[in-house]
């Protein structure tokens, strides 16, 4: 860093932002205006202004209707700017490069877009399929894999250039694509009820096929250690787990008959399974077609409880420390959040952030949670201990929220 930068100390990186964060108090704003002048000077001294911006507490919010990403700062609780032109972002998700500078965005329209968070621009973009559902980045950061509905299968790209590296046709829709250690990806086949492991550590991908996962897997998760893969099934009354440390892994039904004897409700939105399931010593999982969160002992994979909730859960996400599980719900009950205490498995808090609560993202240590409230056009930030609302940030039909800390987690 230059002498001037050192002279400015900790304030310099903040002042270097191209757009000042919103929601500063008047005093702070005046200070920042002052610094802005200095920053301008400084920017011309430094070869590149962006070099001084750290990305560790940044994030991206998907604005699904307008095909844009809102760049946000988790510590400032503020929007910093926008990256536009990403196409159809309904159901879009993204992953981060290991250096937390780039994000790979998986659009519904089959677009794979690499964006630079610092320069706030698109670096590369390929239309890799007709219709895609999500993706993952390999542990070494070299490969980005995309799971496709149309024409199906999984495609793998070079993370630097987005040049195609491997094409893995499966003859149908693929779901639940995650990364695991060893430069491997795991995903499941909706039509065939199989899970495949693709090992990309060698020259050509090595595929291990596991049959008998159950009818119509709709989504899956892997635990943070990359060991347990759990697939939710649309066509069966259980979930299926794989111990990926076994060779080959054997499908094990978990929560068999969890809805037995009870009519399944119409499912207006498929639940999501994400790598935030571990809460204490149990996994918390959303039930399909029931107003329930299901608990499974993480070691034995035996059922360890059920929590009756307000509606059909979409996400059941453990706070990073595991002490609470936050749940949102399917249409038409998607204005409500419930918080479950992990020890008692009781709902300890319920509130209505607004219409269309689509997604939640915890700060890396879980002291705050960001909620996207689509129909209110707002992202709302809450304290997870007091449940106090700390801020509202304007966003255009916000859906997924992704903090850069995900870069260092397996399976997100």
């Amino acid at each position: 860093m230059s002498r001037i930068a050192r002279f400015l100390g900790g304030a310099a990186p903040v002042a270097l932002r191209a757009t000042p964060p919103r929601y500063f108090g008047p005093d702070e704003r005046a200070v920042r205006r002052g610094l802005g002048g200095l920053a301008f000077l400084l920017a011309s001294v430094l070869a590149s202004g962006v070099a001084a911006q750290a990305t560790g507490d940044l994030g991206l919010v998907v604005e699904r209707a307008s095909g844009a990403l809102l760049v946000v700062d988790q510590s400032e609780r503020a929007a910093l700017g926008r990256i536009e032109g990403l196409g159809d972002l309904s159901h879009a998700s993204l992953v981060y490069s290991p250096d937390e500078r780039f994000a790979y965005v998986f659009g519904r329209d089959g677009g794979l877009t690499k964006v630079d968070i610092l320069e706030r621009r698109i670096v590369a973009r390929v239309m890799q399929a007709g219709n895609s559902i999500g993706g993952a980045i390999s542990d070494d950061g070299r490969y980005v894999a995309v799971s496709n509905y149309e024409p199906g299968g999984v495609r793998v790209f070079d993370a630097d250039t987005l040049a195609p590296v491997a094409d893995i046709p499966t003859g149908g829709k693929t779901i639940g694509l995650v990364d695991i250690p060893g430069t491997r990806f795991v995903f499941s086949l909706w039509d065939q009820g199989e899970t495949w492991i693709a090992d990309l550590s060698g020259k050509a991908p090595q595929i291990t096929k596991i049959t008998g996962m159950g009818e119509n897997p709709y989504d899956a998760l892997v635990t943070g250690d990359g060991r347990t893969y759990i697939a939710g099934l649309f066509g069966a009354d259980h979930l299926t787990a794989l111990d990926l440390w076994q060779d080959p892994p054997q499908p094990k039904p978990i929560l068999p008959g969890y809805a037995e004897g009870r009519a399944g409700l119409p499912v207006y939105k498929m639940p999501h399974l994400e790598g935030w399931a571990l809460a204490g010593t149990d996994f918390a999982l959303p039930a399909m077609g029931q107003h329930e969160v299901l608990w499974v002992d993480a070691r034995s994979l035996e059922e360890s409880g059920r929590t009756a909730v307000y509606g059909q859960p979409v996400f059941a996400m453990a706070r990073p420390d595991g002490r609470q599980v936050w749940v949102n719900f399917a249409h038409p009950l998607n204005d409500t959040i419930q918080v479950i205490d992990t020890l008692s498995k009781q709902v300890i808090h319920e509130f209505k952030p607004g219409p269309g609560v689509l997604h939640m993202e915890f700060t890396p240590r879980g002291h705050e949670v960001w909620l996207s409230v689509r129909d209110a056009g707002r992202v709302m930030v809450y304290d997870t201990e007091t449940f106090e609302k700390l801020r509202e940030i304007e966003a255009d039909s916000p859906s997924g929220i992704f903090f850069t800390a995900r870069a260092h987690k397996t399976g997100l």
Binding site: D88, R108, Y149, P266, Y268, M270, L333, P355, D375
Partner: protein, 99 residues
Amino acid sequence: MNRLALLLALLGAPAWAEPDAQALARLVHQDCGSCHGLSLKGGLGPDIRAVSLGHHDRESLQAVILDGIPGTPMPPWRPLLSAAEAAWIADYLLKGEDE
């Protein structure tokens, strides 16, 4: 009005009430869209834009919407939508109008 309140109101609405076009168009893109894609080009569920619905007419579409397709993820919307609203959505899909 928020959508939950709206849907609850619709549930109790008398049969002769005019469907709320704006709310229904929104429901098609946002909520049908969670399976069929925001622009209805397909996702877990198939493409349901007008060009792909040649094998349907208003009545068959209305029936699919109200009763779903058993054994598939296409859910029955009868608990949330009236017959008039389902017919409105059928027309809307066949016309291929966009928001």
